[in-house]
Subunit: 223 residues, 2 copies
């Protein structure tokens, strides 16, 4: 049976869009929110739209019930949410999507002292959590549609098998997931989001994304 995926912060723009694409692809999704009531409403709406059952709960109950926990919250909420779900995600796979944007200068790279939001997450959750980071660069409003999204998903993590799960989740959301190396490498994609925000404004782009160019041999990555 498919593993259950909790989307913590699942009523936000990115979380809702991911939950919808995964539910549509037949994944077992649990929408989490700080307020369980908001999660129930979002899950009911999504379930009705897709004709499937979508579960819902508070963030911590969603994380407790799931095998894979995807964290989609603003940077300012990251520490609080991770401390809250920490006890129930030990030993699990956590996919953190946090981008360290510091308002008002969101078009300026401002990486945290730990090097990246992903390394900060690992520090906060402890080393028993299999931590991966991904989905930093995809425009949520594009992901919320049924259209293809012209953006690669760079996946970071020190455990290759854990990365592979996130790569597959990117693929089944209609994106191209790519192994991008160690968790410390997450700084690259996190920083890139500020560049994309800058470019959206400078070149009037409706949701810039990134692509890795070149001929990729996907059989090689299975080695």
């Amino acid at each position: 049976m498919d593993q259950a995926i909790a989307v913590v912060g699942g009523t936000g723009n990115l979380g809702a869009a991911l939950a919808r694409r995964w539910a549509k692809a037949g994944k077992s999704v649990i929408i989490g929110s700080r307020q369980a009531e908001k999660a129930h409403e979002a899950a009911a709406r999504l379930g009705a739209e897709l004709g499937v059952t979508v579960r819902s709960a508070s963030n911590v109950d969603a994380a407790r019930a799931a095998d894979i926990v995807v964290v989609t919250v603003p940077f300012a909420s990251q520490a609080g949410v991770l401390e809250e779900i920490g006890p129930v995600v030990q030993g699990k796979l956590v996919i953190d999507t946090t981008v360290p944007l510091v308002p008002p200068k969101v078009a300026r790279v401002q990486l945290p002292p730990e090097g990246s939001a992903a390394q900060r997450a690992q520090h906060l959750l402890g080393s028993d959590v299999r931590l991966v980071s991904a989905f930093h660069n995809v425009a949520a409003h594009k992901l919320a549609t049924d259209q293809p999204v012209d953006c690669d998903v760079l996946v970071f993590g020190d455990d290759k098998a854990a990365r592979s799960v996130a790569v597959e989740l990117a693929d089944c959301a209609g994106l191209r997931g790519l192994h991008a190396g160690a968790l410390a490498n997450s700084a690259a994609a996190e920083a890139l989001t500020s560049i994309l925000i800058f470019m959206n404004k400078t070149y009037r782009i409706d949701g810039a994304g990134i692509r890795i160019t070149g001929q990729l041999d996907f059989s090689a990555s299975a080695d």
Copy 2:
């Protein structure tokens, strides 16, 4: 008359490839090298190939003679070279291409304490230098050919007019130069190079690059 471009470290892989593309595009190029003799040899070869005159000198003499100074040296040489040319580049436009790769783990992001090699360069050269960073992600062996290179050049700097010069130099090297914001944003492209190195290995790519996706309105960037 065209401004003279010194390529400091112009006998290295990236420097030689940039010098060649710019000379071919009719730019006035001065190849610099630690050893003037090596620069002379490279300039003579390039001049003979293209049927143009290519000047050459030691790094510091090349920088002294030029209006625009492009620094293409390994991270380990950055500080020494910048200290050497510092006195002769005050008030000039310097384009730093340094990527903070720390062998042997070049596929791992290891940004310097200043946040980026570009900010380190500004610190070393002082605030009278108009500093821009660019050309972090392009594969030198691809740039060395006459073929199109499938890679955008992200250009960083706190002075928009200075950035525009580097954007134009990217364009006339057959790449797509893009304004990417403040000098602090350079961390994104510098970190990305380690990701591309990781992907070249993981997916057996012959020189991965990056593209910004979306519909760009180039008239907007002139505002």
